[in-house]
Symmetry: C2
Subunit: 492 residues, 2 copies
Amino acid sequence: MRSSPAAVSPIIPIDRDSGIPLHKQIYDGYRSAILRGDLRPGAQITSSRTFAAELRVSRFPVLNAYAQLLAEGYFESRVGAGTFVSTSLPEQLMSAPRPVATPAREPSGPRPVARRAFLVPAFPASATLPGWGAFGVHQPAFDQFPFPVWSSFVTRHSNSPQASAIHHIDPRGSERFREEICNYLRTARAVKCDPSQIMIVSGSQQALDITARVLLDPGNRVWVEEPGYTLERSVIAAAGCQLCPVPVDSDGMDVAEGIRRYRKARAAFVTPSHQYPLGSTMSASRRLQLLNWAQSSGAWIVEDDYDSEFRYESQPVASLQGLDANARVIYIGTFSKVMFASLRIGYIVVPRDLLDRFMAVRFAMDIFPPYLYQEVLTDFMKIGHFGRHIRRMRQLYGERRAVLVKSLREEFGNAVELHGAAAGMHLTVTFPRGLKDRDLAAKALRERLWLLALSPSYLGEKVREGFILGFGSTPAEQIPRAVARLKALVTG
Amino acid sequence: MRSSPAAVSPIIPIDRDSGIPLHKQIYDGYRSAILRGDLRPGAQITSSRTFAAELRVSRFPVLNAYAQLLAEGYFESRVGAGTFVSTSLPEQLMSAPRPVATPAREPSGPRPVARRAFLVPAFPASATLPGWGAFGVHQPAFDQFPFPVWSSFVTRHSNSPQASAIHHIDPRGSERFREEICNYLRTARAVKCDPSQIMIVSGSQQALDITARVLLDPGNRVWVEEPGYTLERSVIAAAGCQLCPVPVDSDGMDVAEGIRRYRKARAAFVTPSHQYPLGSTMSASRRLQLLNWAQSSGAWIVEDDYDSEFRYESQPVASLQGLDANARVIYIGTFSKVMFASLRIGYIVVPRDLLDRFMAVRFAMDIFPPYLYQEVLTDFMKIGHFGRHIRRMRQLYGERRAVLVKSLREEFGNAVELHGAAAGMHLTVTFPRGLKDRDLAAKALRERLWLLALSPSYLGEKVREGFILGFGSTPAEQIPRAVARLKALVTG
């Protein structure tokens, strides 16, 4: 193989019938691409031989144009490296360091946007995880992740990719990976499934979105937990459905109240293992009540089991899906909490009779999931690193949670109320005296303390104020000081 | 760090108030998990110490239960490795090698599925790329990809991930990567953009889907090319829109005919660089006509520039987006053709006034794209490997295409018609005498020759039959024989 130049050639339209000589056309093309900023200072220039071949002209006009561009300082030569756009162009030549190429004037005429695109809230730039440490929510202990082991698997699968893995298209993802997930879910979560029912997705958000596209029609009523997960609500709202908030208490969603308020609904979206954000575990009687309601009213249950791996003081709770004798539960899980979120891998366990539609919808949405991490996670699980990492994190998070609880008690005494079972990676607190949680969260952000306000998790008018405190990414020794800062903020 | 066991523990509900002794409850729990197949032969068993801690019981009942399970052959010990589910369980104990855990009876009661979920066709299992070689469509020369270099970048970014890359959430993706793509598009495709307008997605399919969700309301009329790309049509149909087929000729979409048939439409979806499947390049006058129509009727243009990198006999054609003075073009590109499809990376260039809605919709769909390949591709582009790989593939595919054209002429003479400019990774052929393309494609599949029938690319009644022949993944020396097999099939 001969070496190929690395440069990317600009598009220079050549018109042989214009009176303008070819070398002038090439010179003008380069000069204006540089002045527009389409070719940046330091960009490598395609060799004259290659560029002449690409333009289908002889080499002479290209050499001629390049010589002029060099002479005028638009290009510069570097010995042994080639020719580049000059990094020291006279300032007055450049309209701006990176000129904006689109027209400055306002776009004119009707510019219709879909009505349904306005059903979702704007991207909340300030609300996303601003940094690590106290009290970032949904953040695992990234520094504890076994990157050396992980990377060895990544390297292996990147170096010698399995043709089948790269080649085969299944909208559910890799079969080997689905088998591994199936084994895990049957053992650890008592989910009833076989690998054909599992669909790999880019995280629980895409899982919710695909599920909504398969099951929800505009105008349908959908039960959601109150308070609940705002991004889940975005998906349901985007589907044009009516959000029906059902209150949550220490036994999880109050199913009887849901039936009283909205007997007929297309679906109920729940987090029975560890309710988000209040942290309760749905009781056995509520689970049966929910399953019975779904069966008798022809509704679906969407179970988001997002951080079920982490329970610290009680036995693990089996999934709702495993209790269901009527295949009415769509089970959703994610690797974001156990591993890290930018993996973008989660899964759906789909009732058999819905598989055809889930596959059709997913194929039309984004065809199939990327291969590399599927292969890597398969091995990571098969060899036991996954189970080991969960166990280590369970102990670590349990310790961090205990320190957080102790610190909160020491600082606040009875002036704080803690919610939820000893589980997961966050703890929600409210304050009997009340406070303005959004204002305080904005203030804390300026001081680089990440407080997620509780009140935006409510849809209705009965709102509690407080904070959802993540402890996954905060070392235990830093927690007391973070709680002291919280105290100062709340009482200040 | 002390070593943690790799095993995943099963869920065994312990009831201290039942009359059943703890060791019997644990024994029964394991035994039935094994018989159900939830714990598979060979699965590692959690150590008695760890499991007792997880169950919050003393170690004695666990040891007692494990001893009985070992004695009865459900468990087996391996020296130095631990305890495992026996790999030689008596057959009569196991209901099946992998028993199906869900209830056998048919799900009962109403099981309502969204009407919109039926707007997309079923996943066509047989229609996806069945293997490499002649004449797989959209398949690059995978064996020519510089995996060693690529893997070195993958390893580096996997080993020491940038906290910022893993942490920062932007629904558009990594800023560094968007800058690299912006430079490339401005230079090589004459796209007018800055990095803020670029959104990284999982490929052109997700790009189409997001675009449809932002711009299309149910009932809108949408121009599509006839013949055209079936997966693009799935997206438009899934949005509940009316597909308006506009005929294509050797100058691309017949815009005048489109205006005559459907003057008012919300959008036109086009492939102007290399029309799929007929391969024509849209002429300059048609481009201006299309842009004028869009401006005067308040329509959007979605430009899918899917394999524009590869032109063999003429100068590259600038993007339609670059010609547009009114920011009415949504530009879509993909790395699937230049790199490989299972990367799942593409991008959208979004008009500035639409950015807010694109970000909101994408955030609700799947939050943000996975980090690793974004980082890797950024370096791959920055250091010049990307430009070099494109150039090498341009030469390779040009040679393969020339051999394919020559072979077709030798075998078929004038009994075959070739369509399209010398570009891309596929060549479409029709036969003046006519043939049943779907039947022949099915027959060819059984003989491991991959023929994609042309006729399903048509929506209307005027259908041409023929084949879309991919040549990207077929070495030049194998092409004559593949064409001979095609000849035998067509004339057989």
